[in-house]
Structures are given as structure tokens and as C-alpha cells.
């Protein structure tokens, strides 16, 4: 995983140096090109996790952007209209994430989607307390986070 990523970067820099155009488009093109070359080279080997994870990471970024924009529009609509549609509350979400990195990233992504704010984690690290603005149904709210963010994040990290 790490070696392949470094090889990918190295090939990209070689591409940029050889073509002599040091701009962002060329860098991105080199990155995609060397990714493809590495994919062809390592196709017969067993360590293909790098080529599974990169699409997963990209799809996670798009999923996150989609959630971010959707939730921002929901909050924006609530701000413009005079009536309040909020149904706030603090919900404890049982965690499957175990390590520091997993919990930190999950809490960060939960805070970044509007309407939810992670407040604290219990001392035994089994529950994440989240303040949400739109909790119509508690179990759906928990399910949304568990099957959306947590599942995707753990797929990438494990």
C-alpha cells in the first residue's frame, strides 16, 4: 500500500520532470497515468489493496461532498424561512470504530456535515455523543450515520 503510493508519486514526478510543464493539470495527468501503469504491472500479484482503496477513497470523497451539500441546503432552507423545522437532541451512537484514527476521522466527518456536531466520546470509547439538529426518529438517525459514514470509513481504513 505505502510502497505503491510512493512509487506512484515517484513516477508522477518523473513524468512532470520529463514533460517540463509544472502545472496542476499535468501533475494530475501524470498521477492518473502512473496509477494505470502500476495497475497493469501489479495485476498478477496478490497485494491489490491499493487498487481497491483508491476508488473507495474517491467514492468516499464524493459521498462526503454530496452529504455536505445536501445538509447545507437543508440548513440554509431552515435559516431563510421564518418557521423553525428543527428537532434537536443529543444522541449516543454506539461505535464500531476502535482505534484513535478511526474515531477521530469519524467524529471529524460527523462534525463537518451540517446539523450534526460530535460532542464527546465516552470513557470506555463505545459511544459517541452527537448533537443533531434534525432528529425526527432516533433509530433512523443512528442508522444513517452507522451505515453511511462509519461503514464507508471502516471499509477504507481496515
Amino acid at each position: 500500500m505505502k510502497n505503491l503510493f510512493l512509487a506512484n508519486l515517484l513516477l508522477t514526478f518523473i513524468w512532470v520532470a520529463l514533460t517540463g510543464k509544472f502545472n496542476f493539470t499535468n501533475f494530475l495527468f501524470g498521477l492518473i497515468l502512473s496509477y494505470g501503469i502500476l495497475w497493469i504491472l501489479t495485476r498478477s500479484m496478490n497485494n491489490v489493496s491499493y487498487f481497491k482503496r483508491v476508488p473507495q477513497i474517491i467514492s468516499f470523497i464524493f459521498f462526503f461532498l454530496k452529504e455536505l451539500i445536501k445538509a447545507n441546503i437543508e440548513v440554509a432552507y431552515d435559516v431563510i424561512t421564518p418557521t423553525n423545522y428543527m428537532d434537536p437532541g443529543i444522541v449516543g451512537i454506539p461505535l464500531d470504530a476502535k482505534t484513535d484514527l478511526e474515531i477521530t476521522l469519524l467524529a471529524n466527518f460527523i462534525t463537518l456535515t451540517p446539523g450534526t456536531l460530535s460532542l464527546d466520546i465516552s470513557t470506555d470509547r463505545k459511544t459517541l455523543y452527537v448533537h443533531g439538529m434534525y432528529i425526527r426518529d432516533k433509530s433512523t438517525f443512528i442508522n444513517d450515520i452507522k451505515s453511511g459514514f462509519e461503514r464507508r470509513l471502516l471499509e477504507i481504513l481496515r
Partner: protein
């Protein structure tokens, strides 16, 4: 085409930041204010920075924009999380219409420990 993209991103970013400002005035309690301001401002600043990167079309500026967005995404939630946590434990009241509160009575002030949700109550 590029001009349209720049105008679109910059306007959207400004609108989101404006809405965050209105939201700060309108929201009924502290937690929702924190909630609104951090997120809308992250998205707004991000969009304006992307517009700047598109306007200059320069590698040094694009790389700086990416670094700034990355660090905002990394640091803004941590700050919001710390402020929210401090607010809850110093006893800032929730809004009167707050429906669920799983966090009440879970914090042990003497031992500074926080219990997790017991499964009987959540089901």
C-alpha cells in the same frame, strides 16, 4: 466557461457564509449556532478558495488552496467539538424543544468519566 465557474463558486461561497451569519442570529441555542457556523463557513471558504484557484490558474496558488482547504477540514471540526464539549460540561442549557438527550446524567463529575449508552435504554 472559466469565468462562469469562478462567478458561480465565489457567489455560492459568499451565499453560504451569509446564511451562516443569519443562522447565528436566528438559531435558538448555543449548540445549533456552533453547528451552523463551523460547517457553512467551511463550505463557504472552500468554495471561495476554489474560485481563487480557478482565477489564477497557477500551480503555486492551487497547491496552497488545496493545503488551506485540507487544514480547514482537519481543524475546524476539532475546534467546534472542543467548544461544544466545554459548553455542555459547564452547563449551557439546551433549547426547550430538544427532544432526545442521551448525554444527561452520564457524566461523573468526581471521577471525570463519561458512561456509554446502555443497550437496554437505546433499544
Amino acid at each position: 466557461m472559466n469565468d462562469i465557474l469562478i462567478i458561480g463558486f465565489a457567489t455560492l461561497g459568499a451565499i453560504f457564509i451569509l446564511l451562516a451569519g443569519i443562522g447565528l442570529l436566528k438559531m435558538p441555542d448555543f449548540y445549533m449556532r456552533v453547528s451552523i457556523s463551523t460547517k457553512a463557513i467551511t463550505l463557504g471558504t472552500g468554495l471561495i478558495l476554489i474560485a481563487a484557484a480557478l482565477a489564477f490558474q497557477d500551480f503555486s496558488i492551487t497547491s496552497r488552496v488545496i493545503a488551506i482547504i485540507l487544514f480547514i477540514i482537519l481543524t475546524a471540526p476539532v475546534a467546534a467539538h472542543m467548544i461544544g464539549k466545554a459548553a455542555y460540561f459547564t452547563g449551557i442549557k439546551l433549547w426547550k424543544n430538544t427532544s432526545v438527550n442521551d448525554l444527561s446524567k452520564k457524566y461523573d463529575k468526581k471521577r471525570h468519566t463519561l458512561d456509554s449508552v446502555d443497550n437496554d435504554a437505546s433499544n
